[in-house]
Protein backbone atom coordinates (compact mmCIF):
# COMPACT_ATOMS: atom_id res chain seq x y z
CA UNK A 1 0.00 0.00 0.00
CA UNK A 2 1.37 3.39 -0.97
CA UNK A 3 1.00 6.52 1.12
CA UNK A 4 -1.37 7.92 -1.52
CA UNK A 5 -3.81 4.99 -1.31
CA UNK A 6 -3.60 5.07 2.50
CA UNK A 7 -4.59 8.73 2.47
CA UNK A 8 -7.29 8.12 -0.17
CA UNK A 9 -8.96 5.55 2.09
CA UNK A 10 -8.97 7.89 5.08
CA UNK A 11 -10.22 10.88 3.07
CA UNK A 12 -13.05 8.82 1.52
CA UNK A 13 -14.30 7.47 4.82
CA UNK A 14 -14.05 10.87 6.55
CA UNK A 15 -16.01 12.35 3.66
CA UNK A 16 -18.77 9.76 4.14
CA UNK A 17 -18.98 10.56 7.85
CA UNK A 18 -18.98 14.31 7.25
CA UNK A 19 -21.81 14.03 4.72
CA UNK A 20 -23.91 11.80 7.02
CA UNK A 21 -23.39 14.05 10.03
CA UNK A 22 -24.10 17.17 7.98
CA UNK A 23 -27.38 15.71 6.66
CA UNK A 24 -28.35 14.74 10.18
CA UNK A 25 -27.47 18.20 11.45
CA UNK A 26 -29.67 19.84 8.83
CA UNK A 27 -32.50 17.35 9.47
CA UNK A 28 -32.29 16.11 5.88
CA UNK A 29 -31.86 12.57 7.22
CA UNK A 30 -33.55 10.98 10.20
CA UNK A 31 -31.49 9.07 12.74
CA UNK A 32 -33.17 5.77 11.97
CA UNK A 33 -32.19 6.02 8.32
CA UNK A 34 -28.72 7.39 9.01
CA UNK A 35 -27.60 4.66 11.40
CA UNK A 36 -26.46 2.16 8.74
CA UNK A 37 -24.60 4.82 6.75
CA UNK A 38 -22.96 6.00 9.94
CA UNK A 39 -21.85 2.49 10.85
CA UNK A 40 -20.49 1.99 7.32
CA UNK A 41 -18.52 5.23 7.52
CA UNK A 42 -17.08 4.35 10.93
CA UNK A 43 -16.03 0.88 9.78
CA UNK A 44 -14.39 2.36 6.69
CA UNK A 45 -12.52 4.89 8.83
CA UNK A 46 -11.22 2.25 11.26
CA UNK A 47 -10.08 -0.02 8.43
CA UNK A 48 -8.43 2.78 6.47
CA UNK A 49 -6.56 4.19 9.48
CA UNK A 50 -5.53 0.74 10.81
CA UNK A 51 -5.39 -1.65 7.80
CA UNK A 52 -4.04 -4.31 10.17
CA UNK A 53 -7.53 -4.68 11.70
CA UNK A 54 -8.80 -5.83 8.32
CA UNK A 55 -5.99 -8.37 8.00
CA UNK A 56 -6.63 -9.62 11.53
CA UNK A 57 -10.37 -9.93 11.02
CA UNK A 58 -10.13 -11.72 7.66
CA UNK A 59 -7.61 -14.11 9.19
CA UNK A 60 -10.04 -14.73 12.01
CA UNK A 61 -12.95 -15.39 9.63
CA UNK A 62 -10.86 -17.40 7.19
CA UNK A 63 -11.25 -14.96 4.31
CA UNK A 64 -8.20 -15.47 2.12
CA UNK A 65 -8.21 -12.12 0.29
CA UNK A 66 -8.88 -9.35 2.87
CA UNK A 67 -10.39 -7.03 0.22
CA UNK A 68 -13.17 -9.59 -0.26
CA UNK A 69 -14.22 -9.06 3.34
CA UNK A 70 -14.54 -5.36 2.55
CA UNK A 71 -16.77 -6.16 -0.43
CA UNK A 72 -18.82 -8.62 1.56
CA UNK A 73 -19.50 -6.18 4.39
CA UNK A 74 -20.21 -3.32 1.96
CA UNK A 75 -22.73 -5.37 -0.01
CA UNK A 76 -24.37 -6.61 3.18
CA UNK A 77 -24.82 -3.04 4.43
CA UNK A 78 -26.16 -1.82 1.06
CA UNK A 79 -28.58 -4.75 1.00
CA UNK A 80 -29.90 -3.96 4.47
CA UNK A 81 -30.29 -0.27 3.69
CA UNK A 82 -32.20 -1.08 0.48
CA UNK A 83 -34.46 -3.50 2.29
CA UNK A 84 -35.17 -0.98 5.00
CA UNK A 85 -35.96 1.66 2.38
CA UNK A 86 -38.39 -0.72 0.60
CA UNK A 87 -40.16 -1.52 3.84
CA UNK A 88 -40.51 2.17 4.67
CA UNK A 89 -41.78 2.84 1.16
CA UNK A 90 -44.49 0.23 1.66
CA UNK A 91 -45.49 1.83 4.93
CA UNK A 92 -45.57 5.28 3.36
CA UNK A 93 -47.71 3.99 0.50
CA UNK A 94 -50.25 2.53 2.87
CA UNK A 95 -50.35 5.81 4.79
CA UNK A 96 -50.86 7.76 1.56
CA UNK A 97 -53.71 5.43 0.62
CA UNK A 98 -55.36 5.96 3.96
CA UNK A 99 -55.06 9.73 3.54
CA UNK A 100 -56.49 9.56 0.02
CA UNK A 101 -59.48 7.57 1.26
CA UNK A 102 -59.98 9.96 4.14
CA UNK A 103 -59.87 13.04 1.88
CA UNK A 104 -62.45 11.53 -0.46
CA UNK A 105 -64.79 10.78 2.44
CA UNK A 106 -64.27 14.20 4.05
CA UNK A 107 -64.93 15.93 0.75
CA UNK A 108 -68.17 14.00 0.37
CA UNK A 109 -69.14 14.94 3.93
CA UNK A 110 -68.48 18.62 3.28
CA UNK A 111 -70.64 18.48 0.15
CA UNK A 112 -73.45 16.84 2.08
CA UNK A 113 -73.22 19.42 4.88
CA UNK A 114 -73.24 22.29 2.39
CA UNK A 115 -76.26 20.73 0.69
CA UNK A 116 -78.11 20.58 4.01
CA UNK A 117 -77.38 24.20 4.88
CA UNK A 118 -80.21 26.62 4.02
CA UNK A 119 -79.19 28.81 1.05
CA UNK A 120 -79.93 32.05 2.92
CA UNK A 121 -77.44 31.68 5.78
CA UNK A 122 -76.77 35.30 6.70
CA UNK A 123 -80.17 35.92 8.24
Amino acid sequence: MTVASYILGIVASVLVLVVVVELLRRRRLRERHAIWWFIAGLLALVVSVFPSTLLWLSGLLGVEVPTNLVFFVSIAILFLVCLQASAELTELESKTRRLAEQTALLELRIEQLEGERPPNHDS
Binding site: A100, E101, A104, L105, E107, L108, Q112
Partner: protein, 247 residues
Protein backbone atom coordinates in the same frame (compact mmCIF):
# COMPACT_ATOMS: atom_id res chain seq x y z
CA UNK B 1 -75.02 -19.88 16.76
CA UNK B 2 -74.82 -16.46 15.12
CA UNK B 3 -78.09 -14.71 14.33
CA UNK B 4 -78.80 -13.08 11.01
CA UNK B 5 -81.64 -10.58 10.64
CA UNK B 6 -83.15 -9.39 7.33
CA UNK B 7 -82.32 -5.77 6.48
CA UNK B 8 -84.56 -3.00 5.11
CA UNK B 9 -83.27 -1.50 1.86
CA UNK B 10 -82.58 1.87 3.53
CA UNK B 11 -79.70 0.16 5.32
CA UNK B 12 -78.16 -1.01 2.04
CA UNK B 13 -75.26 0.85 0.46
CA UNK B 14 -74.45 -0.03 -3.14
CA UNK B 15 -70.79 0.80 -3.77
CA UNK B 16 -69.72 1.31 -7.37
CA UNK B 17 -65.93 1.57 -7.83
CA UNK B 18 -65.34 3.48 -11.05
CA UNK B 19 -62.13 4.29 -12.91
CA UNK B 20 -62.65 6.21 -16.16
CA UNK B 21 -66.18 4.86 -16.58
CA UNK B 22 -68.01 8.03 -17.59
CA UNK B 23 -69.52 6.09 -20.48
CA UNK B 24 -71.34 3.48 -18.42
CA UNK B 25 -71.53 4.67 -14.82
CA UNK B 26 -74.68 6.78 -15.28
CA UNK B 27 -76.64 3.81 -16.65
CA UNK B 28 -75.46 1.63 -13.77
CA UNK B 29 -76.51 4.25 -11.22
CA UNK B 30 -79.93 4.70 -12.79
CA UNK B 31 -80.42 0.95 -12.99
CA UNK B 32 -79.53 0.51 -9.33
CA UNK B 33 -81.96 3.28 -8.35
CA UNK B 34 -84.69 1.57 -10.36
CA UNK B 35 -84.06 -2.00 -9.25
CA UNK B 36 -83.00 -1.51 -5.63
CA UNK B 37 -85.35 1.27 -4.50
CA UNK B 38 -84.49 2.82 -1.15
CA UNK B 39 -80.83 1.84 -1.20
CA UNK B 40 -78.09 4.47 -1.13
CA UNK B 41 -75.57 4.49 -3.96
CA UNK B 42 -71.99 5.55 -3.47
CA UNK B 43 -69.82 5.82 -6.57
CA UNK B 44 -66.15 5.85 -5.65
CA UNK B 45 -64.31 7.64 -8.43
CA UNK B 46 -60.89 6.02 -8.33
CA UNK B 47 -58.88 8.99 -9.59
CA UNK B 48 -60.47 9.04 -13.04
CA UNK B 49 -59.20 11.39 -15.72
CA UNK B 50 -62.63 11.77 -17.27
CA UNK B 51 -65.94 13.15 -16.03
CA UNK B 52 -66.93 10.04 -14.03
CA UNK B 53 -67.57 12.11 -10.87
CA UNK B 54 -69.88 14.64 -12.54
CA UNK B 55 -71.74 12.03 -14.59
CA UNK B 56 -72.37 9.84 -11.55
CA UNK B 57 -73.50 12.77 -9.42
CA UNK B 58 -75.90 13.97 -12.11
CA UNK B 59 -77.33 10.45 -12.32
CA UNK B 60 -78.19 10.70 -8.63
CA UNK B 61 -75.41 8.91 -6.77
CA UNK B 62 -73.29 10.03 -3.84
CA UNK B 63 -69.76 10.38 -5.14
CA UNK B 64 -66.50 10.05 -3.23
CA UNK B 65 -63.61 11.16 -5.43
CA UNK B 66 -60.20 9.72 -4.66
CA UNK B 67 -57.38 12.16 -5.43
CA UNK B 68 -55.45 9.49 -7.38
CA UNK B 69 -55.91 5.93 -8.54
CA UNK B 70 -55.80 3.36 -5.73
CA UNK B 71 -57.22 0.34 -7.55
CA UNK B 72 -60.47 -1.48 -6.85
CA UNK B 73 -59.26 -2.46 -3.37
CA UNK B 74 -58.72 1.14 -2.28
CA UNK B 75 -61.99 2.28 -3.81
CA UNK B 76 -63.89 -0.50 -2.04
CA UNK B 77 -62.25 0.16 1.31
CA UNK B 78 -63.39 3.79 0.97
CA UNK B 79 -66.90 2.41 0.41
CA UNK B 80 -66.71 0.12 3.44
CA UNK B 81 -65.48 2.97 5.62
CA UNK B 82 -68.32 5.18 4.42
CA UNK B 83 -70.77 2.39 5.27
CA UNK B 84 -69.25 1.93 8.72
CA UNK B 85 -69.22 5.65 9.53
CA UNK B 86 -72.80 6.12 8.33
CA UNK B 87 -74.33 3.06 9.92
CA UNK B 88 -75.18 0.91 6.88
CA UNK B 89 -75.73 -2.79 7.52
CA UNK B 90 -75.09 -4.06 4.01
CA UNK B 91 -72.59 -3.13 1.31
CA UNK B 92 -73.13 -4.45 -2.20
CA UNK B 93 -70.37 -3.98 -4.75
CA UNK B 94 -71.57 -3.39 -8.30
CA UNK B 95 -69.02 -2.74 -11.04
CA UNK B 96 -69.33 0.42 -13.09
CA UNK B 97 -68.86 -1.31 -16.45
CA UNK B 98 -72.40 -2.70 -16.46
CA UNK B 99 -71.30 -6.32 -16.10
CA UNK B 100 -73.28 -6.83 -12.90
CA UNK B 101 -77.05 -6.79 -13.18
CA UNK B 102 -78.49 -4.74 -10.29
CA UNK B 103 -81.63 -6.89 -10.52
CA UNK B 104 -79.64 -9.60 -8.71
CA UNK B 105 -78.84 -7.33 -5.74
CA UNK B 106 -81.93 -8.32 -3.72
CA UNK B 107 -81.02 -12.01 -4.16
CA UNK B 108 -77.52 -11.36 -2.80
CA UNK B 109 -78.86 -9.32 0.12
CA UNK B 110 -81.48 -11.96 0.93
CA UNK B 111 -78.75 -14.59 1.24
CA UNK B 112 -77.07 -12.38 3.88
CA UNK B 113 -79.75 -13.72 6.23
CA UNK B 114 -77.59 -16.82 6.49
CA UNK B 115 -74.14 -15.42 5.81
CA UNK B 116 -71.71 -12.54 6.31
CA UNK B 117 -70.41 -12.37 2.76
CA UNK B 118 -72.31 -13.41 -0.36
CA UNK B 119 -70.69 -13.78 -3.78
CA UNK B 120 -72.57 -13.48 -7.02
CA UNK B 121 -71.13 -16.40 -8.98
CA UNK B 122 -70.99 -16.49 -12.75
CA UNK B 123 -70.48 -20.20 -13.29
CA UNK B 124 -73.17 -21.40 -10.95
CA UNK B 125 -75.57 -22.27 -13.74
CA UNK B 126 -77.04 -18.93 -14.75
CA UNK B 127 -76.23 -16.68 -17.69
CA UNK B 128 -73.92 -17.32 -20.61
CA UNK B 129 -70.72 -15.68 -19.42
CA UNK B 130 -67.80 -17.73 -20.78
CA UNK B 131 -64.10 -17.59 -19.96
CA UNK B 132 -61.68 -19.91 -21.75
CA UNK B 133 -58.04 -20.96 -21.73
CA UNK B 134 -55.44 -20.59 -18.95
CA UNK B 135 -57.42 -17.88 -17.24
CA UNK B 136 -60.32 -20.29 -16.90
CA UNK B 137 -58.07 -23.04 -15.50
CA UNK B 138 -56.63 -20.57 -13.00
CA UNK B 139 -60.13 -19.65 -11.91
CA UNK B 140 -60.97 -23.33 -11.45
CA UNK B 141 -57.90 -23.87 -9.27
CA UNK B 142 -58.70 -20.86 -7.10
CA UNK B 143 -62.30 -21.98 -6.79
CA UNK B 144 -61.15 -25.41 -5.58
CA UNK B 145 -58.66 -23.97 -3.06
CA UNK B 146 -61.01 -21.32 -1.70
CA UNK B 147 -63.85 -23.80 -1.42
CA UNK B 148 -61.62 -25.67 1.02
CA UNK B 149 -60.67 -22.57 2.96
CA UNK B 150 -64.17 -21.13 3.18
CA UNK B 151 -65.76 -24.54 3.80
CA UNK B 152 -68.53 -23.75 1.33
CA UNK B 153 -68.80 -24.36 -2.39
CA UNK B 154 -67.38 -21.39 -4.29
CA UNK B 155 -67.20 -21.52 -8.06
CA UNK B 156 -66.34 -17.93 -8.97
CA UNK B 157 -63.79 -16.47 -6.58
CA UNK B 158 -62.82 -13.49 -8.71
CA UNK B 159 -66.35 -12.16 -8.93
CA UNK B 160 -66.58 -8.57 -7.78
CA UNK B 161 -70.35 -8.80 -7.40
CA UNK B 162 -70.65 -9.29 -3.63
CA UNK B 163 -72.80 -8.37 -0.68
CA UNK B 164 -71.23 -7.83 2.76
CA UNK B 165 -73.03 -7.87 6.07
CA UNK B 166 -72.28 -5.80 9.18
CA UNK B 167 -69.49 -8.04 10.49
CA UNK B 168 -67.82 -8.07 7.09
CA UNK B 169 -68.10 -4.29 6.76
CA UNK B 170 -66.32 -3.84 10.07
CA UNK B 171 -63.51 -6.17 8.95
CA UNK B 172 -63.15 -4.78 5.42
CA UNK B 173 -63.30 -1.10 6.44
CA UNK B 174 -59.97 -1.79 8.11
CA UNK B 175 -58.34 -4.60 6.14
CA UNK B 176 -59.69 -4.64 2.60
CA UNK B 177 -56.58 -5.52 0.61
CA UNK B 178 -55.23 -3.02 -1.87
CA UNK B 179 -52.96 -5.29 -3.86
CA UNK B 180 -53.81 -6.24 -7.44
CA UNK B 181 -56.27 -9.18 -7.23
CA UNK B 182 -56.21 -8.78 -3.47
CA UNK B 183 -59.67 -7.30 -3.57
CA UNK B 184 -61.14 -10.58 -4.77
CA UNK B 185 -59.07 -13.56 -3.67
CA UNK B 186 -57.32 -12.19 -0.61
CA UNK B 187 -60.51 -10.59 0.66
CA UNK B 188 -62.15 -14.01 0.66
CA UNK B 189 -59.28 -15.53 2.60
CA UNK B 190 -59.38 -12.69 5.14
CA UNK B 191 -63.11 -13.19 5.62
CA UNK B 192 -62.78 -16.97 5.94
CA UNK B 193 -59.84 -16.75 8.34
CA UNK B 194 -61.77 -14.25 10.46
CA UNK B 195 -64.53 -16.81 10.91
CA UNK B 196 -67.12 -15.13 8.69
CA UNK B 197 -69.72 -17.22 6.87
CA UNK B 198 -69.34 -17.08 3.07
CA UNK B 199 -72.01 -18.19 0.58
CA UNK B 200 -72.50 -17.89 -3.13
CA UNK B 201 -75.58 -17.16 -5.17
CA UNK B 202 -75.81 -17.82 -8.92
CA UNK B 203 -76.16 -14.63 -10.94
CA UNK B 204 -76.27 -13.90 -14.64
CA UNK B 205 -73.46 -11.63 -15.82
CA UNK B 206 -73.66 -9.47 -18.86
CA UNK B 207 -70.78 -9.02 -21.26
CA UNK B 208 -68.69 -5.99 -20.51
CA UNK B 209 -70.08 -2.79 -21.97
CA UNK B 210 -66.64 -1.89 -23.28
CA UNK B 211 -63.24 -3.57 -23.52
CA UNK B 212 -62.31 -7.15 -24.37
CA UNK B 213 -60.76 -9.56 -21.84
CA UNK B 214 -57.22 -10.50 -22.85
CA UNK B 215 -56.30 -13.98 -24.07
CA UNK B 216 -52.59 -13.25 -24.40
CA UNK B 217 -50.80 -16.28 -22.87
CA UNK B 218 -48.14 -14.12 -21.18
CA UNK B 219 -50.80 -11.97 -19.60
CA UNK B 220 -52.60 -15.11 -18.48
CA UNK B 221 -49.40 -16.50 -16.93
CA UNK B 222 -48.73 -13.20 -15.16
CA UNK B 223 -52.31 -13.22 -13.88
CA UNK B 224 -51.94 -16.77 -12.59
CA UNK B 225 -48.63 -15.97 -10.90
CA UNK B 226 -49.82 -12.82 -9.19
CA UNK B 227 -53.09 -14.37 -8.13
CA UNK B 228 -51.25 -17.39 -6.68
CA UNK B 229 -48.90 -15.10 -4.77
CA UNK B 230 -51.85 -13.12 -3.43
CA UNK B 231 -53.47 -16.35 -2.29
CA UNK B 232 -50.34 -17.81 -0.68
CA UNK B 233 -49.49 -14.64 1.22
CA UNK B 234 -53.08 -14.25 2.37
CA UNK B 235 -52.84 -17.76 3.81
CA UNK B 236 -49.51 -17.40 5.59
CA UNK B 237 -50.12 -13.96 7.11
CA UNK B 238 -50.08 -13.95 10.90
CA UNK B 239 -53.59 -14.18 12.32
CA UNK B 240 -53.09 -10.94 14.26
CA UNK B 241 -52.92 -9.01 10.96
CA UNK B 242 -56.69 -9.01 10.65
CA UNK B 243 -57.81 -8.38 14.22
CA UNK B 244 -60.75 -5.98 14.55
CA UNK B 245 -61.50 -4.15 17.80
CA UNK B 246 -64.62 -5.69 19.30
CA UNK B 247 -66.73 -2.57 19.69
Amino acid sequence: MIEFVPVPSSRILVVVPAFNESGSVADVVREVIAKVPGASILVVDDGSHDSTTEVARTAGALVATLPFNLGVGGAMRTGFRYALENGFDVVVQVDADGQHDPASVPALVAELDHADLVLGARFAGKGEYVVRGPRHWAMLVFARVLTGIAKTRLSDTTSGFRASGARTIRLFAEFYPAEYLGDTIEALVIAARSGLVIRQVPVAMRPRAAGVPSHNPFRAAAYLGRASLALIFALVRPRSTYRVDPS
